[in-house]
């Protein structure tokens, strides 16, 4: 049957719209995973056991089970206990929390690696432990760990394809939609791959800018 890329223009808008959804879900989930990761790291290191242990269970659950299953559970499972989330929101929460746990591991290590003198200097000036963490230790820890968090964010972009299974018409699902109409899987999967790659390049450029910006403050 051969390849025929001339079918692409007709469905380009569909796939592009999908790409926009992928960007939206990736950005939202990345933000959630970033701030969630900081929160989880601070809880894991400094909260009293009664708070820390449930969060540890939560982290273990998100690290030890497939993301796909987590998405099913959040989207289909939670309805049964009265939490009916839109697919997009369920997708962002699933992806965001999943990667928050991974980011948290990185940030924890990084917090512990911040020179003890930083906390001491802050405490000496009269800052409370919480203030010192918030203003001095955590910002430094996060800066140090931006490159590996960036890698996680690129993994997040790629895993965002999984939310197609709960019906978010992001890039992968949009490509499938076009394939359903045209029976041209190769052409549209390649097109989707090209879009993923372009988004990836964009993310890397943003990450490089952030890294450059914080480099002076080392």
């Amino acid at each position: 049957m051969g390849l025929d890329f001339s079918v692409i223009p007709k469905y380009l808008d569909v796939v592009m719209l999908g790409a926009l959804w992928t960007i939206a879900i990736t950005v939202a989930a990345a933000l959630l995973s970033f701030f969630g990761g900081i929160f989880l790291a601070v809880v894991a290191l400094y909260a009293p056991a009664i708070i820390r242990l449930p969060f540890r269970l939560f982290a273990w659950l998100f690290m030890g089970t497939p993301l796909l299953l987590q998405l099913f559970l959040i989207y289909f499972g939670l309805v049964q206990i009265g939490i009916d989330l839109p697919a997009f929101v369920a997708g962002v929460i699933g992806l965001g929390l999943h990667f928050a746990v991974y980011n948290s591991e990185l940030i924890q290590t990084s917090i512990l690696a911040v020179d003890k003198g930083q906390m001491e200097a802050a405490r000496t000036l009269g800052l409370s432990r919480g203030q010192a963490l918030r203003k001095v230790v955590v910002p430094q820890a996060v800066r140090d760990v931006i490159p590996p968090i960036g890698n996680n964010m690129i993994a997040l972009l790629k895993d965002s394809a999984l939310v197609s299974v709960i019906g978010v018409s992001e890039l992968t699902l949009s490509a499938q939609l076009a394939i359903g109409r045209t029976y041209r899987p190769f052409e549209f999967y390649v097109l989707a791959a090209v879009f993923y790659y372009i988004i990836n390049l964009g993310m890397e450029a943003v990450l490089r800018r952030i890294e450059r910006k914080v480099q002076a403050a080392r």
Partner: protein, 257 residues
């Protein structure tokens, strides 16, 4: 010294790490405007004693007083935290390794605590930073990051940061020990200028020349006790205790190598 009440009053300070006793019943009174140097070999407990003054290394026994406030008083945890944070605002501390906040500019290093703890406006904070940086001769580096400064410059900024809280007493924990020899003098100059303003200072140091020229009183510590103390001219020219003599002789020999 007349019958003036001491400004910093350490009473029977005792500190152990397990079986190891690093401070053995040390008492030290420092009066307002007095400058005290603590010298001694490493492991003698001098840094531990200094760090006990603002409770960075809590004592196992004994009391620390700053004016009419007991620094290390017994309180429930939350109240104690509030109390100690308040007390520490009055005690400036300068560390061997500067401990500037790497992620903040010189200006932000200085304004962070005053803005957060004293609720002053950005404008006031900036003025404060400029004032303190002028004092230590670092005004032209106000928007630099610590990584862009030399060791001596970092330490001068660290002193400015401590001074911005308007402390009643300044603690120096080997402030020049980590510096290249040619950078020591610029930090010493700043400390001398502070001395001339009659800042109360307690200085742990290896710089005997500096201690001799600036301090009112010198304590020699060894193995957790104050072996000998006195005015610098006596301590450095005519020490009485054998251990003091040995230490100074060795130190001089090392310094002349």
């Amino acid at each position: 010294m007349t019958e003036q009440k001491p400004f910093v009053d350490i009473r029977h300070a005792q500190k152990s790490y397990g079986a190891l006793e690093v401070l053995k019943d040390i008492s030290l009174q420092v009066h307002r405007g007095e400058i005290v140097a603590i010298i001694g070999p490493s492991g003698s407990g001098k840094s531990t004693l200094l760090r006990a003054i603002n409770d960075l290394d809590p004592l196992s026994g004994g009391e620390v007083w700053l004016e009419d406030t007991q620094v290390n008083k017994t309180l429930p945890h939350r109240q104690y935290e509030k109390h100690i944070n308040q007390v520490r605002q009055n005690i400036g501390m300068v560390f061997q390794h500067f401990n500037l906040f790497h992620h903040l500019t010189v200006r932000e290093n200085i304004t962070l605590a005053p803005k957060l703890l004293k609720g002053i406006s950005d404008e006031e904070a900036n003025k404060l930073a400029e004032e303190q940086l002028n004092k230590v001769g670092m005004i032209e580096r106000i928007d630099y990051y610590p990584s862009q400064l030399s060791g001596g410059q970092k330490q001068r900024v660290a002193i400015a940061r401590a001074l911005a809280m308007k402390p009643k007493v300044m603690l120096f924990d080997e402030a020049t020990s980590a510096l290249d020899p040619e950078l020591v003098e610029e930090v010493n100059q700043v400390m001398k200028a502070l001395a001339e303003e009659h800042m109360t200072m307690i200085i742990v140091t290896h710089e005997m020349g500096f201690a001799e020229s600036v301090c009112d009183r010198v304590l020699f510590m060894d193995q957790g006790v104050v072996v000998e103390e006195g005015p610098p001219e006596v301590m450095f020219r005519n020490p009485q205790n054998e251990r003091t003599k040995n230490f100074l002789r060795k130190h001089l020999a090392d310094a002349n190598k």
